[in-house]
Assembly symmetry: C2
Homo-oligomer: 355 residues x 2
């Protein structure tokens, strides 16, 4: 149990208007959770304080050597006023996997959950209720030693900030266009692709900018070794429905094990749909497209939940999926998952955690 | 030409003692250079101010998505009191290559050089003169948009800090032991391995910790695709002298194009030694070791200049190079390069730039 110290803001900000559709990740609530780490003391001084700038020495290791991790999950307000988190333990488990991979000290799971709950409770009034909106929770850890030289830091800050958000893609649930990258690589087996750390995102920027310029909203990565097996999208895992089966790349160490990915797989299995987690050659997708057996393509991620894919572009081939319309399962998964998140659907798999 | 605003410190720190051997990267001088970027204004507000903390919003992109770059070079004080930079234009060129790769706006080369010169001049008194010491210069850029979501930032800070340093490896010019990594991968073709950005260093931590625990000071990386071609060491490029020839991995997109590497190649060519930049299979090194034709192994980098390698460990094979002694060329290259840096040797290749 953390002994959390509270310092409430003396100058609360104005809440966004009730009917504000909200953008993604631009406004932040009144408070933040902070906890420090030092080798001798371990994690200590847990506190909830007014949202405020972080002050660091210019030599702080996070600015130079990228030792930083983050997570992303959401809180929802139900119609009867309860606050629900969606599978927070999956994020916490993944956070500690990231920590181990990049030499950041782990955070006890129960302390992590307590910190999330307490800061969400503190800023509960900020949870938006308009359909499609939620409170995005961003826990992150940064290395703070004032030291130049490559080694793990001895000091860290663990911080949780909160942002009321709307749709991640301006398209909302409308299908997005995806560019399959054949020049750049995001991550490779043996690397840190399965960790949620800045490194994987900075590596994606150039390709993403190129895709945007061509009118595509996201990039789909191929593996770094053979350059033909499908990995994942910029900020989502990817699913295909081929000839009645749900197919998704197997977790191979270079892609992020998405919480939404896992939820999609569980639900499809519940519904009796065959699900295959395996290597997928991009040529197989092209063939399925040509055969007419490529029935649906969609991405899964906390930010957009389910994002139908209307078009895939690979080299010179443009694959128009379902004439650009939303697939049956994309819609059903979106409705079911958001239904559970909002407490409207029965939570048969025990995914929500009340704050 | 930058119009630099000056704000001198009112509380100068105490200089390290003249005979202090100095560690690496732990103390910083009195001032720093800072310049901001905004889309509309471009790079602006160049200033030299007292060394001080940086204050950033907790949502600043650098903390989450790793959009950060850095460089490292050194200034030396000659016996007759001049201040010399070693090939700063190579670092500046590489900085802009990194910037392009990770979508950071470039900095005009002449402005970059002016900034380095001015801040070094401001803290000239901090340049140590004990043999083996120098003033390490760390330019870096961080993404500062207060925004959650993956895209290039619209705002940045370019900062230069200075640190009087001694040897990077506690061993000094004594040969180091190197662990050849066969499990983890640092970077892959198509990725960002040739950029000087935090991502490549965070990816190296776990392997480095493991190597340290086994008594090795650095890791030598193999390529991420075939897992057998030699890439580079944690913070150095690597050279082999095999049967009278100098051999080093060719710049293939996944290793850092070191300034010291280039200097070593130029000098060896000057001296009439055959130099080969090419793919090197680790099995070739093992064979040369067994044949007795592996004459020298050394690393090259700004921090340590030349670092003789006394032992290489690959899987179960321990290769003892030259019975752990310093090689002839390792010593000659170290003496020549540091001689030029300190203004003691004739600068035949026009490498030094006076401040
Ligand atoms: C690279 C990447 N893949 C996949 C995902 C989806 O993971 P999750 O469903 O846990 O949000 C995300 C984002 O969260 C991501 O950044
Ligand atoms: C990964 C890596 N390779 C090589 C080098 C050597 O480059 P340079 O000689 O420019 O210092 C460095 C360090 O600077 C480095 O970090």
């Amino acid at each position: 149990m953390l002994n959390i110290r509270y310092e409430k803001t003396a100058t609360p900000k104005e809440l966004p208007a009730k009917n504000d559709p909200l953008k993604f990740g631009t406004i932040f609530t009144d408070h933040m959770f902070v906890m420090d780490y030092e080798t001798v003391k371990g994690w200590h001084d847990a506190r909830i304080i007014p949202y405020q700038p972080i002050s660091l020495d210019p030599s702080a290791m996070v600015f130079h050597y990228g030792q930083e991790m983050f997570e992303g999950l959401k809180a929802y307000k139900t119609e009867d006023g309860r606050v629900l988190l969606f599978r927070p333990n999956k994020n916490i488990e993944r956070a500690n996997n990231t920590n181990r991979r990049i030499c950041i000290p782990e955070i006890p799971e129960e302390d992590f959950l307590q910190a999330i709950k307490e800061v969400v409770k503190t800023d509960e009034a900020w949870i938006p209720t308009k359909p499609g909106t939620s409170l995005y929770i961003r826990p992150f850890i940064i290395a703070t030693d004032p030291f130049l030289g490559v080694r793990p830091s001895d000091t860290y800050k663990f911080i949780i900030i909160l942002s009321p958000v709307g749709a991640y893609y301006p398209e909302g649930l409308d299908p997005v266009k995806i560019w399959i990258e054949d020049e750049y690589v995001r991550a490779v087996k043996g690397g840190i692709g399965e960790a949620k750390t800045g490194a994987n995102y900075v590596a994606s920027l150039k390709s993403q900018v190129k895709a945007h310029e061509e009118g595509y909203s996201q990039v789909l990565w191929l593996d770094g070794v053979n350059r033909k097996y499908i990995e994942e999208v910029g900020a989502m895992n990817i699913f295909f429905k081929i000839d009645g089966k749900i197919v998704t790349p197997v977790l191979n160490g270079s892609i992020l094990p998405g919480v939404t990915r896992d939820s999609v797989i569980c639900l499809c299995k519940e519904w009796g749909l065959p699900v295959e987690e395996r290597k997928i050659d991009i040529a197989e997708i092209k063939k399925a497209y040509e055969d007419g057996t490529l029935e649906e393509v969609f991405g899964s991620g906390t930010a957009a939940v389910i994002s139908p894919v209307g078009q895939l572009r690979w080299e010179d081939t443009i694959m128009q999926v379902r004439d650009g319309g939303i697939g049956e399962y994309s819609q059903k998964l979106y409705d079911t998952i958001t239904g559970i998140q909002l407490g409207k659907e029965k939570d048969i798999l025990g995914w929500t955690v009340e704050v």
